[in-house]
Amino acid sequence: MNKLPSTVKMGWRRGKIEIRQFLRQRESVVFTLLFPLILMAIFGSVFKGEIAHGVKFSQYFLAGMIASGMINSGFQQLAINIPMERDDGSLKRLRGTPMPATSYFIGKLIMVLASITFQVILLLIGGVLFFGVHLPTSPNKWFIFSLIMILGTGGSASLGVAFSIVPKSGRGASAIVTPVIIIMQFFSGVFFVFTQLPKWMQDFASVFPLKWLCQGIRSVFLPDAFAQSEVAHSWETGRILLVLAIWFIVGLVISIRTFKWNRE
């Protein structure tokens, strides 16, 4: 008898089919990929001032938008999409095949990674062309950026899978998930400069990954002098990576423990 295809191979196939399905939902493609660009354009035109010497708000905002993109394509997309798949029978059908849950997760991760990469590239092009963002030249910065990308994407995706058991139905999912994200964005320094927020908001946001994600991306794309204007007067790179890694692991553990194929 032939052997079953490996978990990784099935995961890769899932990833390809997930991307194909995602691309065919035009509205969702436009919303997920272009919405951050539109927000960039609006905020960039409204707030033109500098927030520190040589740093414009639009540059600060770009970092927040990249971080938000990672949350939207991962956490938001999965926390809404998985309950819908649970409702329409997709998950139950998959459960009836020999494909393991791990392959399903790998497929989701590939889809999220592809979508985030595409989005980050779009935002960086927009930032360089219209908002005077300078791409870093030091390989060290790019190395940190790729670590943040990997941990941020993994954390965002795994927390999305974990959160997917919260909405009671696919229909209601976006009503529950979207406000969570918007509040996080306000608290974490996406729409406002973080250090200007009330102390209690800062403390609250510091528990969650989005604040650290924004800060990490600022550390890559803003001048090093700006580190002085952060809460700790430094980028806190090590701490950022640690917090992101912890949330990634927390997300993985919760998703593996709580993931349900169907509502029995």
Binding site: N2, I17, R24, M99
Partner: protein, 286 residues
């Protein structure tokens, strides 16, 4: 060797006893129908056999495997079965061909995807998106996904609900074709004519209990049950239930010199038997 062995199966949802002491033995190569009204426990029973639900008590062996066991061997078990769930609405953004080819990649020894597409009669719909298919075509695709892994055992849960009569007959031909290839088929239905047309054996289930198991021809002692002889005499209808209808008619031929007026001899239809069984079980006098 039997493909499915079920002994004293119980499943309850809170106070509701959905499956209440079911025994089943299903043999290799047969089409076995589980017939019953809505809410009788058909889907619960089948979903326990498929491994989707856990039981409260009883013994279940499907292909020599306990389907609720989640550890080693569970994937190999699912590699050997095919499942057609009750109507779903998933994966609408892929084409027929993409969907079938993709699912082929989940199995150790899949059937040829193009052959399956032709077998389910969707050859000319290959490049159509799934959400553009009609209800009947979608159901055929479901069957295609159920058989792509070349299963020894195929479960069909109410496969033709909502079909028009012609689509239903085409669908039955498809299922008979699978049986002829050696696939064991377990189907649930609430259509009598479906059980009668397709099944080698039928289990009638109501309120979680099996009322009877038999061939469609013998269900409810149908083959040996009393015949009903009806005729008219002096302006009123008479009827007599008998196990010797020929003798009754011979006697009547003496009474009437000419044709016996309005003579009919009939036996219970499957529907009579079924309604009677369901009625007795429910306590209705009918």
């Amino acid at each position: 060797m039997s493909v499915i062995e079920v002994r004293n199966l119980h499943k309850n949802y809170g106070p509701l006893q959905a499956v209440d002491g079911v025994d089943l033995t299903i043999e290799r190569g047969e089409i076995f129908a589980i017939l019953g009204p809505n809410g009788a426990g058909k889907t619960t029973t089948v979903e326990i056999l498929e491994g989707f639900r856990t039981r409260n008590s009883g013994e279940v062996k499907v292909l020599d495997f306990d389907p609720q066991f989640k550890g080693k061997g569970a994937r190999d078990f699912r590699d050997r079965i095919g499942i057609v769930l009750q109507a779903t609405s998933d994966a609408g953004d892929l084409t027929v061909a993409e969907t079938i080819h993709h699912y082929a990649g989940y199995y150790s020894d899949p059937r040829d995807a193009n052959e399956v597409i032709d077998a389910i009669g969707l050859g000319d719909k290959k490049k159509d998106l799934v959400h553009t298919l009609s209800g009947g075509q979608r159901r055929r695709l479901d069957v295609g996904l159920g058989i792509i892994g070349n299963p020894e055992l195929l479960f069909l849960d109410e496969p033709t609900t909502g079909f028009d009569p012609e689509a239903r007959h085409d669908f039955w031909d498809l299922i008979r074709g699978l049986r002829d290839l050696g696939t064991t088929i377990v189907l649930t239905t609430h259509y009598l004519e479906e059980a009668e047309a397709l099944a080698d054996r039928v289990a009638v289930i109501n309120k979680g209990k099996i009322l009877e198991i038999g061939t469609p021809a013998n269900l409810g002692d149908r083959a040996t049950s009393l015949a009903r002889v009806q005729w008219e005499s002096a302006g009123t209808m008479h009827e007599q239930f008998t196990d010797k209808p020929t003798a009754v008619i011979a006697k009547l031929m003496h009474e009437f010199t000419d044709e016996i007026p309005k003579l009919t001899v009939s036996r219970a239809t499957l529907e009579d038997i079924y309604l009677q069984m369901i009625g007795e079980a429910t306590g209705d006098t009918k």
